[in-house]
Amino acid sequence: MTRTRSEDRRGYFFVLPTVIVLVVVAVYPMILAAWISLRRVVIVFHEDHFVGLSNYAFLVRDPRFWTALGNTTYFTVVAVIIELLLGLGFALLLHTSFRGQKLFRAAILIPWAIPTVVSAKMWSWIWNPEYGLISRTLPNSDINWLGMPGYAMHAAILVDVWKTTPFVALLLFAGLETIPTVLYKAAAVDGASSWRTFFFITLPLLRPTLVVVLVFRTLDAFRIFDAVYVLTGGGPANTTETLSIYAYKMLMRSGDFGYGSTLAVATFLCVMAISAIYIRMLGMPSRSQRS
């Protein structure tokens, strides 16, 4: 390594714009939110004073927070697992060659290309119990998907799966393309069954991509807001209220900036914890790629 001082300086100079942008749009708001979470700020009542950790003390005792955390976790776990499995299936399909393959590749991206709010609105029509597609195809089912506790959450998960599976499929497809075909040829020569090929060649070599997809999707799903908000508004009786929706309602609707910020910080800490666990358990993609 023969890096000179001036080269070092130039390096710092090149990353400076990125650092500045990050500080302005990410670090500063984060610190400000943490600071506000230690205060009671209710604009309507002209209240703004320091309260220490009492917002956090209330958070721990707040049943609505725990419900929201439970909802968010359930949503994330179920949605991500289904998306990964389906996405892997679609990626393998995309990877094989068949007639109409190009059309299939384009078609699969449509759900991902539609803005979330639009697709959520569309799905709320599909779920509509009076004139929706689902109730028309399943007559006499008497289920109001978006209005009955238990059903509403799964309806929301299905919308997320429909929307995001193409994204997962596309990333995994890209991962599949990087696996050298000689490995498959060698396996075929050795007489390996397609199951063995899948489990001993495809899956291990796809692992780095899988980890990236898993991290992306988990963090994204954990912050879910738009789709659920449009579909149910958090109802019925907050059974589909996620952490982001709760924080939004506190901040924007009730105008309780202190506690709303506490919720936002709590969400942030959860996301950090998830990332840390992933990195611990699965290792960074770059490291596993080298092994």
């Binding site: 130039r10 100079f13 090149f14 400076l16 714009p17 500045i20 942008v21 302005v24 604009i43 309507v44 009542f45 002209h46 779920w127 509509n128 119990p129 009076e130 004139y131 008497d142 289920i143 109001n144 998907w145 978006l146 209005g147 009955m148 506790p149 509403a152 149910t232 508004g233 958090g234 109802g235 019925p236 009786a237 907050n238 059974t239 209220e241 309602k249 924007m252 609707r253 009730s254 105008g255 309780d256």
Partner: protein
Amino acid sequence: MGKGLGVIFTCVALGLAVQGCQHAPDPDNRTGKVRIVFKHRPMVGNTSEFRERLASFTRAHPEVDLMTEVLPNAADLTHQYYFTALAAQSRDIDVFVADIIWIPEFARAGFLRDLSDAFPPADIERDFIEGSARAVIVGGRTFAVPWYVDVGLLYYRTDLVSRPPRTYDELESFANLAKHNDPSLFGYLWQARQYEGLICNGFESIWGHGGVTMQGDRVTLDTPQARAGLDFLRGLLDRGTSPKSVTSAMEEDSRRVFEQGRAVFMRNWPYAWTELQKEDSPVRGKIGVAPLPTTTGEPGFGALGGGQLVINAAAPQSHFAASIDLVRTMTSLDANIAFAVANGQPPPRKAAYTDERLKTQAPFIASLYPIVARSRPRPVTAYYNMISDIIESEFSAAVTGIRSTPVAFGRAQLTIDRIAQ
């Protein structure tokens, strides 16, 4: 390219950061006119009257450059918009339309200009229907002028029932009879998605069961009457009088099903009348409107909604006189009648309902007076937006059967009292 590009990026980033802090340059200087910004919700129906009123205002005020902006037709969203803008003391809004439930909150926060000199509270109380007057007068001062009112109504099918039901028992027996003759019919449509409309439906039922939702300054929910009110709504779903779709329905969901002729009764706002009576409506000429029922048979109480005109407290003082005049132009008795005829907006001025023009040109609106006069506001309190969030979720829990009403209302009361203390 390295260095130059880096510098450009840095400048752009800093520029973006700084721009957020600046006020837009005062537009008044460019044209030499006072620019008045009027923000409102989309006008339903014929907008020519609205434009004509604005035009007559600008003719009378050549010194004013009037700008109108339409905001989304969603109360929650617009509340958030105004709340954020006004909390930041935005000077770019002069006059805007505020929902009836925001006035105490915005007035207490200091967002609204005191209009008492131009519109003395005594005049407001004398001229406007009681519920609207109560909502716009905060601490003995006028902070808003009612523009139109909205009220919960019972729509019924004149070809399926001989007269509107007066009691809840009648509502159910009439619905069951009609369903007996035609099993494909739904009985009673209302709105129970977790949103503001559910609160209106819930309160209407509570009032109809003899409940009072505000005692002095305290919002009271955990009462036997309130529990009976929500138990009744839950029962409608259990007994099949109302379809399960109600628990995710908003106004338009109910209206569409009712318009297809698939239900006997519907709770909705006056706007639905115009829609249901359109040329191609299957139920055209087969619908009637009545007060909501009660347990005793006296006419029921619809939830009062509606728009009020308010003036932004942070708007420049030089805009005030023209802004007041704009409010006056839009809320006069003449304007009340004109908007009722052109847009189907029920007027908040009592005198409008006895006016011959309204009676002949908008007989439906004129006929609403007894219902409008009996309408009740949702709790008039500065922390309404904080408690409505809790009320919404507990009403939703009670209606969908997640929690029994004693448990749900116990929870709601606890939180309400904590916020209000």
